[in-house]
Symmetry: C2
Subunit: 385 residues, 2 copies
Amino acid sequence: MSVSADSAVHSVAVIGGGQLARMMQPPAIGLGVRLRLLAEGPDVSAAQVIPDHLVGDHRDLDDLRRIAEGCSVVTFDHEHVPPEHLRALADEGHVPRPSPDALLYAQDKALMRARLSELGVPVPAHRVVDDPDALDQFADTVGGYPVVVKTTRGGYDGKGVWVVEDAAAAAEAFAVGQPIMAEELVFFARELSAQVARRPSGELVSYPVVESRQADGICKEVVAPAPELDAALDHDARTIARTIAEALDVTGMLAVELFETMDGRVLVNELAMRPHNTGHWTIDGAATSQFENHLRAVLDLPLGPTEPREPWSVMVNVLGGAVEDLEGQLPIVLDAVPEARVHLYGKAVKAGRKVGHVTVVGDDLARTIVRARRAADLLEKGTTR
Amino acid sequence: MSVSADSAVHSVAVIGGGQLARMMQPPAIGLGVRLRLLAEGPDVSAAQVIPDHLVGDHRDLDDLRRIAEGCSVVTFDHEHVPPEHLRALADEGHVPRPSPDALLYAQDKALMRARLSELGVPVPAHRVVDDPDALDQFADTVGGYPVVVKTTRGGYDGKGVWVVEDAAAAAEAFAVGQPIMAEELVFFARELSAQVARRPSGELVSYPVVESRQADGICKEVVAPAPELDAALDHDARTIARTIAEALDVTGMLAVELFETMDGRVLVNELAMRPHNTGHWTIDGAATSQFENHLRAVLDLPLGPTEPREPWSVMVNVLGGAVEDLEGQLPIVLDAVPEARVHLYGKAVKAGRKVGHVTVVGDDLARTIVRARRAADLLEKGTTR
């Protein structure tokens, strides 16, 4: 007797149809995991590649219920699902992973800063401020302006973050109508990212700490592992990620974005409880990708090894630019850089939008960087810098 | 201004919804290629993971037309599409790759043997026989029985192939009602497979020659590269694959299954003009997988590098066995062999059916074989040999 393939298959509901959900599909195919997508539209990035998708709104509890129904667990492409909806799903017997209680710290920067401070995890000086006077007072405690102001919820890729020279310049932030977090402006040497995957049963694996290079508030390049990273800082970064994952009971992937300061410390900048742009290199450069380990983790399956396949992996984002027909550039890119691993997201090209990425792996760092940039430039600009 | 992602996207029609079509989807996702599937049923292996699929019959020209409409090219999960239908599609302006003229040699063993003989490619002694008397006469020319008899069309995985001790034993073969090919029974040292990818523009890349280990006529294990392969035989095998690809104007992947004879020669056994079981190791073990290079080749995109990522890759098929709930075995398999790359096909388990495969890569051949077998056994039998 044989059973239907359906009867025992793991199924994962994914909220949000962006490139992160899209990139969960290849490892889901391998593991025989069925993804079920709540998509913003019928042809968004992930809906193009996941047959079982519904079009709906992640802010609508009924849409969330429709997608969760019958799935083993519910996970996320982004952190914008209202916390009260996630609690309602959990109360009804669905299994959001990460849990609503954990995810809250990736949704609300004020709660995150407060909780990490309690845990003794180093973070920039910060304070929730209600008005320009309170901002002035905070600025005095950190040696004056410039300071950073952020909306506590909803920002991403540099949106909802301002560096201000005085309180008047924070008018746009206050106008959002949310609590505003003021933070010291950290003069950092570079940005790092530490990623871990963690299962409900407690197993945790760490990826190598990487260097993330930003442009205009958006991640542009990632080098894995972070070149010449001091062993003590590497240890600190991994320990911080593990501490946060365990203390907040995170399940799935956790990315901890860090500042490496000029005086050799690390401070936590942001958290993401999902696959993250700083981990895209793992698809082609690590023994198990962050997307596969996210699926394994939320399904409480044993996690895969995280070691690099080659000494260096360089990931360069492809942002919307001069080239509108990305697929039309493939003959040029693959001819010029045959070893490039190209990932296109099936998105319409808009200026500055993340529409794809390229990874090159190798044993020579300088060459690997040059080759990855060349491939990304050819996709983005149709020419090379 | 931005263009719709749809407007310029490459689209590939794939005929047949088995695991080969399924495994084309991960690289299609990366390259932004849209697959469009003609599936045997609504939930066959590839239909589970390719949103744009139609249920239809590959022997029905109208179904073939429906799936080809609007696609850049048409390619295949199997070689069972009637040649006259492929010619009709080509005459109507569709672009089957490989072409009908090339594919014919993977569809008809008599034509293949005749053409390879013309090309000077070494093949076993063979003759098309119409009746038992002709079979007896052929047997006399190769030193007597046992000899091999095969249907010239439609066989796969050992089906349509018999080893017979006398003409009476070939009754089942003659009863099929097709021309029957008689061949000498080759006492081979082992079976090899040489794969190349070739573009319409002529670019060709070769994968390392691998060893294929069969059980009951079905590929069970592949070791890449073939251990201790004589350099001259390696050269011969690659040259044969290149010669065939170029002479028959093959586009896409070509697999040439070979016998390595006891006296140190190679003879061509079978051809397949599509991704092949002996190339599944390339997903996890080569710089570019056979599925990606098949898509690149049929779309006439530059081909990717084929070198191994690690010294050894071992692929073991998972055949339908004692375990009915393959997904339910994942916790055990991934815990016992964390480095195993597991690929499940979403198929109902039936005795002897290919329902998945496992690949392990490493630098120690014996250990890599043991680990890959252990993972496959746990999936197949729920225990280890």
